[in-house]
Symmetry: C2
Subunit: 180 residues, 2 copies
């Protein structure tokens, strides 16, 4: 965090804590490092599913769900809708939480919602090379950007015709890392 | 973040972004500020529910669910189990995601799981004054620490005898702030 004073940090276990943290030796400020939240959605128009081809790294050129880092002072649902607008100029309505994943290596929590496209007009935002509406059978499985995109699409398909379903977590044994 | 060099930050919109961020004018490092993740659980032993009376502020002396900030490189489920162990010396088994809440004012995402106590021996951890197992009718509703504790307990009660249920979000119109 930027401060007006030069911080002088050391690894210390704060009182009442049980882990080493970066603590300012001048003022006692503890610089906690926290997992980050990604919010996104499986967006449908009828039977078709919205995907975006990434214009940025990591995994530039690969297909993904509209998703990105949650901002301060927004709700997770609002953030998922914002990302769909930014990446695909897609206006969506959030329906339900599909899944809460964790990628421990990246210290990342992903909240993926099920949503409906409320206006069929979509186009690539600055972070997308192109966007498209895919039938499930036509999803480019070998060109998906991240394992969790595969999880979300697969899990979504298993409940897409149910109005009530439990939220998913990581598939058993999966950590979100690319398989070799 | 502590660095070996004194950072010199200014509020700048980074290339490809659309918001002001704190950017180091020396090296271009962007100090993104992110929402924080709280993980916790509604833990049951038969019909009884585990609550902890807070030994720390905010809301010292009030009752809460075992919950706390998710750490780096753990899964959300592991974090929820860790918090139950730390705050109530409670060994639990996570069953399902109960709810994903957002508190926009605090930029906080809360992932609350349904869980089962697998050993009836519980006791107060350092952040708890006392811990207890409550029948639903005996929950101290007027002494709950946070609105989201009330939400989780109420929503849990509505699905506790269902093995399959959709995850909840914030109750309609609720933001997680204390009502006047």
């Amino acid at each position: 965090m930027p401060t007006s004073k030069d911080p002088s940090f050391a690894a210390i276990i704060p009182e009442g804590d049980n882990r080493l943290r970066q603590v300012c030796t001048d003022c006692g400020f503890v610089a906690y490092e926290n997992p980050k939240v990604v919010v996104g959605a499986v967006v449908t128009l009828g039977e078709k599913i919205l995907l975006c081809r990434r214009a940025i790294n990591p995994r530039k050129g690969f297909w993904t769900l509209p998703a990105g880092f949650m901002e301060l002072h927004e709700s997770a649902e609002t953030g998922a809708a914002r990302e769909a607008l930014e990446e695909a100029n897609a206006k969506i309505e959030i329906e339900a939480l599909l899944a809460a994943y964790t990628i421990p290596r990246l210290s990342q929590v992903q909240l993926i919602y099920r949503a409906r496209l409320i206006d069929p007009a979509i186009s690539a935002g600055v972070e997308s090379l192109e966007v498209g509406l895919f039938d499930y059978a036509d999803i480019p499985w070998d060109e998906l950007a991240f394992p969790s995109v595969n999880w979300a699409l697969t899990q979504f398909a298993s409940v897409r015709h149910l109005s009530v379903f439990p939220a998913f977590g990581n598939p058993p044994g999966e950590t979100g890392d690319h398989h070799p």
